[in-house]
Amino acid sequence: MSTESSYYVPEQSKLPIITAAGMGLIAYGAATWVLGGTNMIFLVGMLIMAAVMYKWWSTVIDENMRGLASHQLKHSYVLGMLWFIFSEVMFFAAFFGALFYVRVIVNSWLGGEAAFGMFDNTPTDAAVANNALLWPGYETQWPVMVTPDQAANGAAAQFSGPEQSMSFPGWDRLLQWLPLWNTLVLLTSSFTVHIAHTGLKNHDRKKFVTWLGITVALGVIFLILQAEEYIEAYQHMGLTLESGIYGTTFFMLTGFHGAHVTLGTVMLLIAFLRSLKGHFTHDDQFGFEAAAWYWHFVDVVWVGLFIFVYVLA
């Protein structure tokens, strides 16, 4: 509830409409680009967005430095960030939901089995007919190494499964399993960013800057490992975006997660650069905290990925 007598309402601003124009160009340009047309519209849109976002955040930081941001306004920013993260959670929920639906229900039906075998293992007539008439020879399996298309049509299939999956390779090859290292790196980074936070709150600037820098480095290491994993998948495992539903869910989930890690790393990097300039104090640190919350969010998503995409496969 409002307790202060003045809430800073900014003057007129050219930033929003330029941002909207940038987004419009990106949308139009991206569609043109995927249709095989020029990518220039898209790139111009991206440039506009990059410039305008730099300017917008600079403005907000500057307003904060000038003391225009009241306690109440800062709370608006906090709410904005938290609800933004909630919307991101729901975005991932759509893709996790797709993964669960495909694994539990679709995959069983395609193979002519009952989707839920808890009380009754008898498949529905539809599932049996589905398998017998449409995809004869397909057997329920996860990861889907042989697609229904391949099972039914052999070499003429349009959709082929991967040669190798990203699943747990067995205890003897545990240490070569990249996802495990990725998990360790990302979980560690959640701790380091927390240590940085405690440093800031306890007026220990050196601790803050050091551990924040370490966190950024861990983020970059994660992304390098992720890129290495993708190269491995494409070059040696025959696992691509096009290798059936396994490749689809694997790359879309880990890909969007990777994109969010990239964004989180950039946010932390900006917080790091600002911390070098002496921004943030023990009681005024929203820019850093927002990045840290976001970082914890991508970390939690990774734990979900690790369990449902890599381990339980």
Binding site: M1, S2, S6, Y7, V9, P10, E11, Q12, S13, K14, L15, P16, I17, T19, A20, A21, M23, G24, I26, A27, A30, A31, V34, L35, S76, L79, G80, W83, F84, F86, S87, E88, M90, F91, A93, A94, F95, G97, A98, Y101, V102, V106, L110, T124, A126, L134, V144, T147, P148, D149, Q158, F159, L241, E242, G244, I245, G247, T248, F251, M252
Partner: protein, 517 residues
């Protein structure tokens, strides 16, 4: 910030003022309403008689698709966001929205998004032709190239909705005047904050759905392709997980508007305020767990059909609470029937009617017959048009004097109401009969046995379309020549903070928050 609006076009392009942005939203949505209405007129003109007269079937498909998309995302949703922008800060005693620049961004994305969407009609292969629900594989394997423009337009539209909603939530949580506790907030504010929550929760799911489409179309993934191990039905699940809350996103603010207007013209406080709040929250919760009732004929296991049927029927309980409260508010009130009240009463009656046909559709066994017929079309136009659009129209008549300090012409308002009411029912009541007799929706042509009611329906649709031009005329005439009003309390029975500020509402209100007792 003690000054008035900036001069010239820059006022509208660069504004951070919630009233300016509310006005922009309202005019934009009205323009989209006329565009979507034009598409509807094309549809009804073609269906006036059996056989193909005016357009080709391919173009007819584009019209049904674009009519739905433009009305849902371009007309109704932005109209209520416009009302939220105007009214929420004034109702809770806030100086503006919590994040004013982002507020402007939320609006200005929309013209770009709809320019892209509308431009698809002029592209090679035509615009989206797969229905507003864009089911795969119609929208993937068999879609025109322009589907890519549609996808990215939906993306930025979704970004606009999410930012707008976050702004509303932050405003309501953080900007209430001292003493304005949650359970003192006007019901319009309550319904909107719950709506905003729904939007933040489901617009990202829509983004996920169109992203999966994009990947399937262009990058060889197999989300919606059984050959690769996916499933076209997956699309329907993801879409309706967004789509069902979406219809409550459209109707909940309408509930809020009606809950403001009926007490004013009954000269009684709203009956059962707290039960209204809980009912709204209950409807919002239920909206997340009923989505597959749109998919009864898709081949779900019987357990799924039964679950979604009973869960759907549960929604009738909180909705019934609402209808009961509106009627009880009027009971023994000193009723007067100005235009906003007429639209609100019509809302209660016709929305309830649409609710009952919804209950019929929720019966899985019966839905096998109703599914994808004109009965469904009639049902959702009773809740979308007589529900959302009637309440939006009521809101415009109700708050217009506060906004511009001029009173509309009551006679003209009432004439418009009766034309709209009669036209609406002539247009959509016969569609129930058509649907029950088996006429499928979205077809450009029909069997001769459907000819009579289709002709009646088309006549009603043209009358209803004319009523919207009358609304435009009334609003413009009010702003230009309306009788000035200066009483802060424009309506005798109106209660709330928005009626304590001068009329017309000054550019900035509540720079210092009022104290609410």
């Amino acid at each position: 910030m003690a000054h008035g609006p900036a001069k010239g076009i820059g006022r509208w392009l660069f504004t951070t003022n919630h009233k300016d942005i509310g006005t922009l939203y309202l005019w934009f949505s009205f323009a989209m309403f006329l565009l979507g209405g034009f598409f509807a007129m094309v549809i009804r003109a073609e269906l006036f008689q059996p056989g193909m007269q005016l357009v080709k079937p391919e173009f007819f498909n584009q019209m049904t698709t674009m009519h739905g998309l433009v009305m849902v995302f371009g007309a109704i949703m932005p109209a209520f966001v416009g009302l939220a922008n105007w009214m929420i800060p004034m109702m809770i005693g806030a100086p503006d929205m919590a994040l004013p620049r982002m507020n402007n961004l939320s609006f200005w994305i929309l013209p770009f998004a709809f320019a892209i969407l509308t431009s698809t009609l002029f592209m090679d292969g035509g615009g989206p032709n797969f229905g507003w629900t864009f089911y795969a594989p119609l929208s993937t394997t068999y879609a025109p190239d322009s589907v890519n423009y549609f996808i990215f337009a939906m993306h930025i539209m979704g970004a606009s909705s999410i930012m707008g909603s976050i702004n509303i939530i932050a405003t309501v949580m953080n900007m209430r005047a001292p003493g304005m506790t949650y359970m003192k907030m006007p019901l319009f504010v309550w319904t909107w904050v719950i709506t905003a929550f729904l939007l933040v929760a489901v617009m990202p799911v829509l983004a996920g759905a169109v992203t999966m489409m994009l990947m399937d179309i262009n990058f060889g993934t197999s989300f919606f392709n059984a050959a690769g191990g996916g499933d076209p039905v997956l699309f329907q699940h993801v879409f309706w997980f967004f789509g069902h809350p979406e219809v409550y996103i459209i109707i909940l603010p309408a509930f809020g508007v009606v809950s403001q207007i009926i007490p004013t013209f009954s000269r009684k406080p709203l009956f059962g305020y707290s039960s209204m709040v809980y009912a709204t929250a209950a409807i919002a919760f239920l909206s997340f767990i009923v989505w597959a009732h749109h998919m009864f004929t898709v081949g779900m296991p019987i357990a799924g059909e039964l679950y979604f049927m009973y869960a759907t029927m549960l929604i009738a309980v909180p909705t019934g609470v609402k209808v009961f409260n509106w009627i009880t508010t009027m009971y023994k009130g000193s009723l007067t029937f100005e235009t906003p009240m007429l639209f609100s009463i019509a809302f209660v009656i016709l929305f309830t009617f649409g609710g009952f046909t919804g209950l019929m559709l929720s019966i899985a066994a019966a839905d096998m017959q109703y599914h994808d017929t004109y009965f469904v079309v009639a049902h959702f136009h009773y809740v979308m048009v007589a529900g959302a659009v009637f309440s939006g129209t009521a809101a415009i008549y109700y708050w217009l004097p506060k906004w511009c300090g001029k009173m509309y012409n009551e006679t003209m308002g009432q004439v418009q109401f009766w034309v709209a009411f009669v036209g609406f029912n002539i247009a959509f009541m016969p569609q129930h009969f058509l649907g029950l007799a088996g006429m499928p929706r979205r077809y450009a042509d029909y069997g001769l046995q459907f000819a009579d009611w289709n002709m009646v329906s088309s006549v009603g649709a043209f009358i209803y379309g004319g009523a919207q031009l009358m609304l435009l005329f009334n609003v413009v005439m009010t702003i230009r020549n309306g009788k000035p009003v200066s009483d802060p309390k424009v309506w005798e029975g109106a209660e709330g903070l928005e009626w304590t500020v001068p009329t017309p509402a000054p550019y900035h209100t509540f720079a210092t928050p009022p104290t609410v007792k």
